[in-house]
Assembly symmetry: C2
Homo-oligomer: 99 residues x 2
């Protein structure tokens, strides 16, 4: 299938995924989750110094749009990249800002 022939639904799915990533705090989250790292909501909330509810909200968006997965272990929920290659997107754009 040619990439130019994406249906409107596929374009929307791709856009939703990118939209999920396209936020300063969510990019910062993804930068911490490279190399298969797994972090809890509290760890991320402390690393980024943002509200717990805001952190949970951002993680929910990333999970809902297929960027992250999560796994509960006791009281904690660990979040991690669903597809390792999604790091490339963040790396690529982040590098564009380092000139």
């Amino acid at each position: 299938m040619n990439i130019k022939d994406l249906t409107i639904e596929q374009l929307e799915e791709a856009a939703n995924m990118l939209k999920a990533i396209a936020h300063p705090m969510r990019i910062a989250i993804l930068n911490y989750l490279d190399d298969g790292k797994k972090l809890t909501v509290t760890e991320i909330h402390e690393l980024l110094k943002i509200e717990q509810s805001t952190t949970s909200h951002h993680l929910g968006i990333l999970k809902d749009k297929g960027v992250l997965s999560s796994k509960r272990e006791g009281k904690n929920t660990y979040y991690f990249l669903k597809h390792a290659n999604l790091s490339n997107i963040v790396n690529c754009v982040s590098k564009c800002t380092m000139n």
Copy 2:
């Protein structure tokens, strides 16, 4: 410089770039502009079957955020990718939708 140490300004710039891309019509536009192709506003407006002003608006956003460049030739303005590697982002996300 470590990618984890991006400043808030750099995170915002990266987010703005991704936000520019993260729209169904704009992804469709970028899919047409691979391999260094150059297309006019009218060509894109006809290919995508969207209003001329809407097309121009989307192209303006992509240019403003550093995704596209443009070059006027007579009555036409040609738009093209500013950095060839930005195709990777679109390819990567688009492929995620083709499973």
